[in-house]
C-alpha cells in the first residue's frame, strides 16, 4: 500500500489571482521507502500541495476537492485534533529556512523533546536517550553539546540536521521536505541530501521532496512529478523524466539547466585591462570598550584581473568573501588595504568627491530583483536616474532608456509603470538596463541570476552574454552556482574563507581543478554525473 495517495487534489486561489486554482486535479502517490520529487518553478503550487497534506493550508486557500490518503486514512475533512495527532507520528515536514523553523529561545534538545512529550508517554530518561540517539543518527558531532545548544550557536547545515532529527524522531511513514537544501551551501547540501537518502533507506520512510533544482532531483529522486501553474504535466521515474521528457514544458525546463561543462571561448590576453585588484583586503573590526575587539577577515589578498570583453567569475560558498570583493570594487564598502585599478586609475582609497565621476564606469546588478528597484519610482525614473546625475538632459536620458529597454527585450510601455507590475525576470532586465544606462566599462553581476527560476535564468544569462559581446563589456560575475559559472565565465576565481584558492581559465579550473576545495565543490554539485536531456 502507498504511504501517501493524492487524488484529484484541487486548491482554490482567492478571487482576483492570476489563475483560479493554486492546484488543480493533481494526483500522485508516494510508496513506502520511495522518494518522489515535486518539481516546478515558483508559483507552480508545489509548496501549497505539501501544506495541504500536512493540513497547514492558510485560510485564504481552501481545499476545493479531491482526496489525500495517508496509509489509507482519508485526511481531507479530518478535524484539526486528528491531524495534530498524526503530525510528527505519521507524517512530518522539514522546511527551507532552518533558522526560522527553529525556536530561537529553546535549546535544540528541548525542541526535540517537545515532540516526544506531546506524542509519547515515555519517561524523561527514555526521552533523553532517544533524543541523543536521533542526534547521533543525523551525524551531528558531540550530541551532548548539540542538545544543549541554542539554534543560533549552530551552522545552517547543523540546524537543518536538527530539523530532520525532529521530523524523524517518531519514525513517521511520510516525510515532506520543502526545499530543505535551497538555503544551504553546495557542500552542505550534498551532505544533507546524503543524510536524507540514508535515513529514508534505513527506516523505509516515504519522502515527498519539493525542489526547483534539477540537479537535486537527479541526485535523490526515484520518481518525479513536474508541476506547472498548479497542474501536473508529467510524472515518471527519474530517468524517464530527466532523460526522455515527453511534455514540452519539461523539455524546456530541463533544456534550461546549464551544464557543468565550460563553454569554449577564445582567450584574448591582449585586450586592455579594465579592472585590476592587487592584494585587496577587507577586515571588519568590532570595536569594544575593553580589550581588543573581534576581527573578521572578509577578504584577504585578493588579486584579480578583468579584461575588456571578458567575464571573470568569482565562485564560492556563502561567507567566502565573494560579495565583499564585489562591493569593494564598486566602492559600496571601503577596502581596508590593497589597490583597485579601474582602467589604470587607482580608486581603492579615492575620496568620495573624486570618485564620483569614475562611478559610472562600474555598475552593479544585485541578486534580489524584488528589492533592487525603488518600489515608489516608475521604471523610467529608475533607469534615467544615473544619466541625470551626470548632467544628461531628461529628453536624452529617456531616449536612451527606451533604447536600453529594447536591448533588454522589454516593451517601451514599461517606462511609466512601477516595479511591482513586473515579474522577477523582467525586473532583473530593468536592473540591467539601469546599469547599462551609465555606459559602464565594467558590469558587476552579484548573484544576478540566483533568485530566478531556471527557465528565466537561462534567458537572463543569454541576455548578459549578448550584451557583453555587443558592447564589449568587461564583466565580473559572482555566483555560488558552478553550472552558471561554467556557462558565462572566461576566467574563474574560486574563493574560500576570504581568499582566492584557485584562479585561472574557466576550462582549466573546471576540467582540471587543482585545489582540494575546488574539487570538493565540484564533487558536491548536485546532479554532476547526470547527463540532462540537453547535453
Amino acid at each position: 500500500m502507498n504511504v501517501l495517495e493524492v487524488r484529484d487534489l484541487s486548491i482554490a486561489l482567492p478571487a482576483g489571482g492570476d489563475r483560479a486554482d493554486a492546484a488543480s486535479k493533481v494526483s500522485f502517490s508516494v510508496g513506502r521507502g520511495e522518494i518522489v520529487c515535486l518539481v516546478g518553478e515558483s508559483g507552480s503550487g508545489k509548496s501549497v500541495i505539501a501544506q495541504s497534506v500536512m493540513g497547514l493550508l492558510p485560510k485564504a486557500l481552501p481545499l476545493a476537492g479531491g482526496s489525500i490518503r495517508l496509509n489509507g486514512e482519508e485526511l481531507v475533512g479530518m478535524p484539526e485534533a486528528g491531524l495534530r495527532l498524526r503530525r510528527a507520528t505519521r507524517m512530518s515536514m522539514i522546511f527551507q529556512e532552518p533558522m526560522t523553523a527553529l525556536n530561537p529561545v529553546m535549546t535544540c534538545g528541548d525542541q526535540i523533546d517537545e515532540v516526544l512529550k506531546f506524542h509519547s508517554h515515555a519517561s524523561a530518561e527514555e526521552r533523553r536517550s532517544r533524543i541523543l540517539g536521533i542526534v547521533r543518527e543525523v551525524s551531528l558531532p558531540d550530541p551532548q553539546r548539540i542538545v544543549a545548544s541554542y539554534p543560533h550557536q549552530l551552522s545552517g547545515g547543523q540546524r537543518q540536521r536538527i530539523m530532520i532529527a525532529m521530523a524523524l524522531v517518531l519514525e513517521p511513514a511520510l516525510l515532506i521536505a520543502d526545499e530543505p537544501t535551497t538555503a544551504l551551501d553546495v557542500t552542505t547540501q550534498a551532505q544533507i541530501l546524503n543524510l536524507i537518502l540514508q535515513l529514508q533507506k534505513k527506516h523505509g520512510t516515504g519522502v515527498l521532496f519539493i525542489t526547483h533544482d534539477f540537479g537535486v532531483v537527479a541526485e535523490i529522486a526515484h520518481r518525479v512529478a513536474v508541476l506547472r501553474l498548479g497542474e501536473l504535466v508529467e510524472m515518471g521515474t527519474r530517468d524517464e523524466v530527466l532523460k526522455a521528457p515527453r511534455h514540452d514544458y519539461t523539455k524546456m525546463l530541463i533544456g534550461s539547466v546549464p551544464t557543468l561543462k565550460p563553454v569554449a571561448r577564445p582567450a584574448r590576453p591582449d585586450a586592455p585591462l579594465v579592472l585590476e585588484t592587487m592584494k585587496l583586503s577587507k577586515t571588519y573590526r568590532e570595536r569594544s570598550w575593553f580589550g581588543a575587539g573581534r576581527e573578521v577577515h572578509a577578504a584577504q589578498d585578493v588579486s584579480l584581473e578583468v579584461r575588456r570583453g571578458q567575464t571573470l567569475g568569482i565562485v564560492g560558498e556563502s561567507g567566502s568573501g565573494k560579495s565583499t570583493v564585489a562591493r569593494c570594487i564598486v566602492r559600496l564598502v571601503d577596502p581596508s588595504s590593497g589597490d583597485i585599478r579601474l582602467s589604470g586609475e587607482e580608486i581603492a582609497r579615492m575620496p568620495a568627491r573624486e570618485l564620483r565621476p569614475l562611478r559610472r564606469k562600474v555598475q552593479i546588478v544585485f541578486q534580489d530583483p524584488y528589492r533592487s528597484l525603488n518600489p515608489r519610482r516608475t521604471v523610467g525614473e529608475s533607469i534615467v536616474e544615473g544619466p541625470l546625475n551626470y548632467g544628461i538632459g531628461r529628453v536624452e536620458a529617456f531616449d536612451r532608456a527606451r533604447k536600453l529597454l529594447e536591448l533588454v527585450r522589454m516593451d517601451n510601455s514599461a517606462l511609466a509603470r512601477y516595479p511591482h507590475q513586473f515579474s522577477g525576470g523582467q525586473r532583473q532586465r530593468i536592473c540591467i538596463a539601469r546599469a547599462l544606462a551609465m555606459e559602464p566599462e565594467l558590469l558587476v553581476a552579484d548573484e544576478a541570476v540566483s533568485a530566478l527560476d531556471v527557465s528565466v535564468q537561462a534567458q537572463v544569462l543569454q541576455l548578459l552574454e549578448e550584451i557583453r559581446t555587443r558592447l564589449n563589456l568587461a564583466m565580473l560575475f559572482i555566483t555560488h552556482d558552478l553550472r552558471v559559472a561554467a556557462q558565462v565565465c572566461d576566467q574563474v576565481a574560486v574563493m574560500s574563507k576570504g581568499r582566492v584558492v584557485e584562479y585561472g581559465a574557466a576550462a582549466e579550473v573546471f576540467l582540471r581543478p587543482r585545489h582540494e576545495y575546488t574539487r570538493a565543490l565540484f564533487d558536491a554539485a548536485p546532479g554532476r554525473g547526470f547527463a540532462f536531456a540537453s547535453t
Binding site: 528589492r371 525603488n374 546625475n389 536592473c431 546599469a435
Partner: protein, 288 residues
C-alpha cells in the same frame, strides 16, 4: 493606494468625523454663534436650550438661544466650543507637522550618517527623559502663552519619538539594494535621503502623524485646563472646562460639551490612525 485606504471602515469613520469637525471650525460664524467673548450679566449659568439676552460690543442687546447653556460670566458655551474647535485643530495639525518635519530631518541624519548618530540620539534620549508635560509647562511659562508657544511646547517633546521611528526605518532601508544601486549610480547623498529613503518611510510616518495630532489636541486641553496654556480670553476646550470646573456639580454642561468634542475628535483621529496603519503597513498591524 488611496482607493485601498478608503475601503477601510476605520479610515472612513475617522476621516468623516474629522471632516465634520473641520467644517464646524471653518463655518463657526454661520452656525448661529455669537462672538465667543460676548457676555451678559443677565444670562449667567443658563441651562442648555434656554433663551436669554446677550449684549454685543456695540451695546445692542440680542435675544439668543443658548444651545449648550452659558457659563458663570454669561458667555455662550456653544459659540465658545465651536470657536475652540479652530484652536484645537490648528494646534493638533501644526504640532504634528512640526514634530514630523524636525523628526524626519533628525532621523534621516542619524540613520544615514553614522558619525551623527551617537551625538544626536543621546541628545534625543536626554529630551525623552524629561516628562513631556513638564517641558511644555516650562516653555509656556518662559515665553508667555500664545498659539505658537503651545505648538512648540507640545511638538518639542514629540520630536525624539519621530526621530527614533525615522531612524529605525532608515537603518533598514539603507541596506536595500536599490539604495546601494543609487550610490553606484553616483546619486548625491541628499538625493538618496529625500528621493529614495524618505518616500519609502511615508506610510508609518502618516500613522505616527495622526497619533501625534491626537496627542497634541489632548495636551493643549490639559495645558489650558491647568492654566498654563493659551490665555483665558481665547476659547479652547481646555479653557472652557477649566472655567466650568468650579461649578461642575451644579452646572455640569460647562464641562460636558467641550469634553464630548475633545473626546470625539481625539477618538476619531486615533481610529483614523489605526485604519491607516492597517491598510498602509500590514506588517505593523500584526505586531501592535
Amino acid at each position: 493606494m488611496f482607493a485601498r485606504v478608503f475601503r477601510n471602515l476605520s479610515v472612513c469613520i475617522g476621516a468623516s468625523v474629522i471632516a465634520l469637525m473641520v467644517l464646524l471650525a471653518v463655518a463657526a460664524p454661520w452656525l448661529g454663534t455669537v462672538d465667543p467673548s460676548l457676555f451678559d450679566a443677565g444670562s449667567r449659568d443658563l441651562l442648555p436650550g434656554k433663551v436669554g439676552e446677550i449684549t454685543t460690543l456695540e451695546g445692542e442687546t440680542l435675544q439668543h438661544t443658548f444651545l449648550m447653556g452659558s457659563d458663570s460670566f454669561g458667555r455662550d458655551i456653544y459659540s465658545r466650543v465651536l470657536y475652540g474647535t479652530r484652536v484645537s485643530l490648528v494646534v493638533g495639525i501644526a504640532t504634528a507637522l512640526l514634530a514630523l518635519a524636525a523628526g524626519i530631518v533628525c532621523g534621516l541624519g542619524a540613520g544615514y550618517l553614522r558619525w551623527l548618530d551617537g551625538i544626536l540620539m543621546r541628545f534625543m534620549d536626554g529630551i525623552m527623559a524629561i516628562p513631556a508635560i513638564l517641558i511644555a509647562i516650562a516653555l509656556v511659562a518662559l515665553w508667555r502663552g500664545s498659539i505658537f508657544t503651545v505648538v512648540a511646547a507640545i511638538a518639542i517633546p514629540e520630536i525624539p519619538r519621530v526621530t527614533r521611528l525615522v531612524r529605525s526605518l532608515v537603518l533598514t532601508i539603507r541596506e536595500e539594494p536599490y539604495v546601494e544601486a543609487a550610490i553606484a549610480l553616483g546619486t548625491p547623498t541628499w538625493k538618496i535621503l529625500f528621493g529614495h529613503i524618505l518616500p519609502n518611510c511615508i506610510a508609518p510616518l502618516l500613522v505616527q502623524g495622526t497619533f501625534t495630532c491626537a496627542f497634541a489636541i489632548l495636551v493643549e486641553a490639559i495645558l489650558s485646563f491647568l492654566g498654563v496654556g493659551l490665555p483665558p480670553d481665547i476659547p479652547t476646550w481646555g479653557n472652557i472646562m477649566a472655567e466650568g470646573r468650579a461649578q461642575f456639580v451644579s452646572f455640569p454642561h460647562n464641562v460636558f460639551f467641550p469634553g464630548v468634542f475633545l473626546a470625539v475628535t481625539v477618538l476619531a483621529i486615533n481610529i483614523l490612525g489605526d485604519g491607516l496603519r492597517d491598510t498602509l503597513d500590514p506588517k505593523m498591524a500584526k505586531r501592535v
